[in-house]
């Protein structure tokens, strides 16, 4: 899994890699690595700890993600940690597995969504963006682009016209994500923050176009 080094931006904090951090295992009381899922001595499931979403799913801390790989990692962890695997275990183990599965779901939900992933990664490097706070768009280029796209969607009358617009919006969103990958690699966080806002509007447009398309299809 190391082939893709170029696309991986190492954002790991200065906190050293040298000394593993140890916790006492709740079950056998011996030392267990803070990030371990199970105790290596007694096999008991451990709590989720407070690691970042990428590390939790065994992924490099980087914006670029292969969806298939993300799913593979998520399913793999859930296969071992999901409460269904602990139905016959003690209540403490059930509670820990629920906490683990909850943390995995939180990580997966954040990382599968390109907008949430960007916001999370910006926060991780200490650059906070508030997508809901600012109601006005101050970037004139972005404002212009979105107004034009919205207008086109409002004027589209046939399913074909909406489908064409949908295709265009999806392609624009795709290229916006490519720019995002580049911005994160170059550590241009202000640029990434600008792109997040654009991606958010484009995603909303894609959703609305899909809804519009299926309503038109129903009418036919």
């Amino acid at each position: 899994m190391k082939k893709d080094d170029a696309a991986v931006v190492s954002l790991s904090t200065s906190e050293g890699k040298s000394v593993p951090q140890l916790n006492p295992c709740w079950s056998c009381k011996g030392p267990v690595d803070k990030r371990a899922l199970f105790c290596s001595v007694c096999g008991a499931v451990q709590g989720p700890g407070d690691t970042d979403h990428f590390t939790r799913l065994g992924l490099p801390v980087a914006y670029h993600i292969h969806t298939d790989h993300l799913d593979h990692q998520y399913f793999g962890f859930q296969r071992r940690m999901h409460p269904d695997r602990f139905a016959a275990k003690s209540s403490k183990e059930k509670a820990l597995s629920q906490a683990q599965a909850t943390a995995l779901n939180d990580a997966y939900e954040t990382l599968t969504d390109p907008v949430k992933r960007a916001v999370y990664l910006l926060g991780h490097v200490g650059y906070s963006v508030d997508l809901h706070g600012s109601k006005t768009v101050s970037d004139p280029v972005l404002l212009m682009e979105q107004m034009e796209l919205r207008e086109a969607l409002a004027e589209a009358e046939t399913e074909e016209q909406v489908a064409a617009l949908l295709h265009q919006a999806e392609e624009t969103a795709q290229s916006c994500q490519h720019e995002m990958v580049r911005a994160f690699q170059a550590r241009e966080y202000a640029e990434a923050a600008r792109l997040v806002l654009r991606l958010k509007y484009l995603t909303k447009l894609v959703e609305d176009a899909k809804g519009r398309k299926s309503r038109l299809a129903k009418g036919s």
């Binding site: 593993p20 011996g30 199970f38 007694c42 065994g58 399913f75 859930q78 959703e207």
Partner: protein
């Protein structure tokens, strides 16, 4: 002789004979079905002595205290309609207000002592809650399973409509507990169906499950691949089903009957009889194009004709409603219709040709019909029950069907967990005080998609006390919602500047509280108490075995850190646990477990010290697994 070696921490499977049997139960509006899987790969539906697989969810209450469930109860509708309860599932977790909205649709007397409490029914001189009536159905299911397997059955996976809210889920779990089941998991009906279908057919890709039962409608979009069943979105209507078709047909019959006969208010019995005739007509018209049925009101009877076409016109508004819900769910899943590989039909109402045609038109493909729509849910539940008790690689990832939130100023709902979130999930939202010096805050938990509180379902109210007096807006109250793998909600609230915390398991509004539950367990079941104690004893034994195994594992790795005397002390404590477990005395087991804890304190400290020294010297402590192949 060969010794068995187990993974550390793994408890060996009990012997075949002592392992409790776990069944899967589809507790339906019209029929209930029970199935078992002995190997986790195949499941079979358990039938009664006459080979019947469907158990009608109908209960007859005799004036002498007798109870009959199923086919026999259904025959009694004609003679003693007032003593027969049907479609009780529609009342699960419902309040008095909800039932008024269903008025006319319920052919029995509804008794609601308090305006805000759970609905009760007056039947044959008794006042019964829907939970108790469902428990009677589940007791019959349990008896059928035990007769078919000739063994005691104590554990079950019970299915619920995906669109059931928290109150209805809790009511279902309580009913099962009351009937003497340990509920391993509540599973959503479409998810159970997908599991049964997917495993059997090796399905891969995106699938829709269209589940139209007697009283509930669900649609789920799932992604299936290599043993993973990931629900992308779900939606439905907890009060829409084949029953509605029956009501429409019954009204049509009564309407045309009244053209030639005098009209008066129907008795509950006449209403039920007419509904029975209407249901027969509906089922008949799935096979033939028209027919005639006898409608009897008082002493007057008339022959009513119905064609399939008229039936379809009567059903059209209900079918259209399911289609509109399907479109919404597809949109929620963020996919387009043509990405869906197949549509699985579930529920007796999908036998209607008009329903199949509507599904075909919407999805643009023939629905998959190589499964029995009335059995597939129970089969899926049985497979899941086997997976939970025997172990499995299959993964069911479900979602929240409805948004969960709390009431804020002006009766507006602030969502805390949106719908279609994978479960288990935990999310928090911060709120603040709106008055200077405010020391308490009332928290009202609601479920639903609407903006206003009164249009959503109220789940619980509680008060967070002891907020330190501050100026308005200064306190920070963090409300955390946690939904477990059964879809059940727990809410806790904390004032973050002081750490004052309160936790509530959400249930009060329309469910039973713990006390009521305990009282019913004692009253309804002579051995209910013994059951509960047995369960507690089992739990403490699991805990004792777990800690003994953990200590033995630690001894084998780090035993060299101990002196002979220290080691002997621990060995003695371990022996005491083994003896206590054999004695099956709960108090002894708990005492022995605590004793082991004390006896190993010094050992634990030595191990931590040793581990830290090793780590500083650059030696790895165990493996940290983070990738899969």
């Amino acid at each position: 002789m060969l010794f068995q070696i187990h993974e550390p921490g793994e408890t060996p499977l009990p012997h075949e004979s002592e392992r409790p049997l776990a069944v899967g139960i589809d507790l339906g509006t019209t029929n209930s079905v029970v199935a078992i899987s002995e190997d986790g790969l195949k499941a079979r539906v358990l039938s009664d002595a006459d080979g019947r697989k469907l158990l009608p969810s109908v209960v007859y209450y005799g004036t002498d205290g007798s109870i009959e469930v199923g086919e026999q109860a259904r025959y009694k509708i004609l003679d003693t309609p007032d003593q027969v309860v049907t479609s009780v599932k529609r009342l699960m977790g419902r309040g008095a207000g909800d039932v008024k909205a269903l008025a006319g649709a319920l052919p029995y007397l509804v008794d609601t002592p308090e305006a805000d409490g759970m609905v009760h029914l007056s039947v044959a001189g008794r006042v019964l809650s829907p939970v108790e009536i469902s428990a009677d159905i589940l007791r019959a299911v349990k008896a059928r399973a035990e007769a078919a397997l000739d063994k005691q059955v104590t554990q079950a996976v019970i299915t619920v409509p995906a669109y059931f809210d928290d109150a209805a889920r809790t009511a279902t779990r309580d009913a099962a507990r009351l009937a003497g089941f340990e509920v391993l998991r509540l599973v959503n009906e479409p998810t159970a169906a997908a599991l049964a279908y997917g495993l059997d057919n090796g399905a891969e890709g995106l699938y829709a499950v269209y589940d139209l039962g007697g009283g509930t409608f669900d649609v789920s979009i799932l992604r299936m691949e290599k043993g993973v069943f990931q629900v992308k979105a779900t939606g439905g209507d907890a009060a829409l089903g084949g029953d509605d078709f029956d009501h429409a047909v019954a009204e049509y019959f009564l309407n045309s009957h009244s053209k030639t006969h005098s009209i008066r208010e129907l008795t509950a019995g006449e209403a039920k009889r007419t509904l029975t005739v209407a249901r027969q007509a509906k089922e008949c018209l799935s096979r033939q194009n028209e027919g005639q049925w006898m409608v009897e009101i008082g002493s007057e009877s008339s022959l009513q004709k119905l064609t399939r076409r008229t039936l379809e016109e009567l059903a059209a508004p209900f079918i259209e409603r399911t289609m509109s819900i399907c479109r919404g769910v597809i949109e929620d899943a963020g996919i387009e219709i043509d990405q869906i590989h197949g549509v699985v039909l579930v529920g007796g109402a999908t036998r209607m040709p008009a329903v199949r045609q509507a599904v075909r038109d919407l999805f643009g493909k023939d629905p998959l019909a190589n499964i029995n729509p009335e059995e597939v849910v129970a089969v899926g539940a049985a497979l899941q029950a086997a997976a939970l008790t025997l172990g499995s690689d299959t993964l069911l990832l479900d979602v929240t069907p409805l948004s969960l939130g709390i009431e804020t100023m002006g009766g507006i709902v602030e969502k805390v967990i949106p719908r279609n979130q994978p479960i288990p999930v935990s999310m928090a939202q911060e709120f603040t005080t709106y008055q200077d010096g405010q020391t308490a805050m009332s928290i009202h938990v609601v479920q639903g998609e609407r903006e206003m509180v009164d249009q959503c379902r109220s789940l619980a109210r509680f008060v967070l006390n002891g907020i330190p007096p501050m100026v308005a807006g200064a306190a920070r109250i963090r409300v955390t919602f946690a939904v477990d793998a059964d879809g059940l909600l727990t809410v806790s609230a904390q004032e973050t500047t002081t750490g004052i915390e309160q936790q509530v398991a959400v249930k009060p509004s329309y469910g039973l509280d713990e006390e009521e539950m305990a009282r019913m367990l004692r009253a309804a079941l002579e051995h209910g108490r013994a059951d509960m104690e047995q369960r507690l004893a089992a739990e403490s034994t699991v805990e004792a075995k777990r800690s003994a195994l953990a200590v033995r594992a630690a001894l084998s790795v780090d035993g060299h850190l101990l002196s002979d005397q220290e080691r002997q002390g621990i060995e003695d404590a371990l022996n005491r646990i083994d003896l206590a477990v054999q004695s099956a005395d709960r108090d002894k087991v708990i005492a022995a477990t605590e004793n082991l804890e004390t006896a190993t304190k010094g050992f634990a400290e030595k191990r931590m010290d040793h581990g830290i020294r090793k780590a500083l010297a650059g030696m790895a402590v165990g493996d940290v697994e983070r990738t899969f192949d």
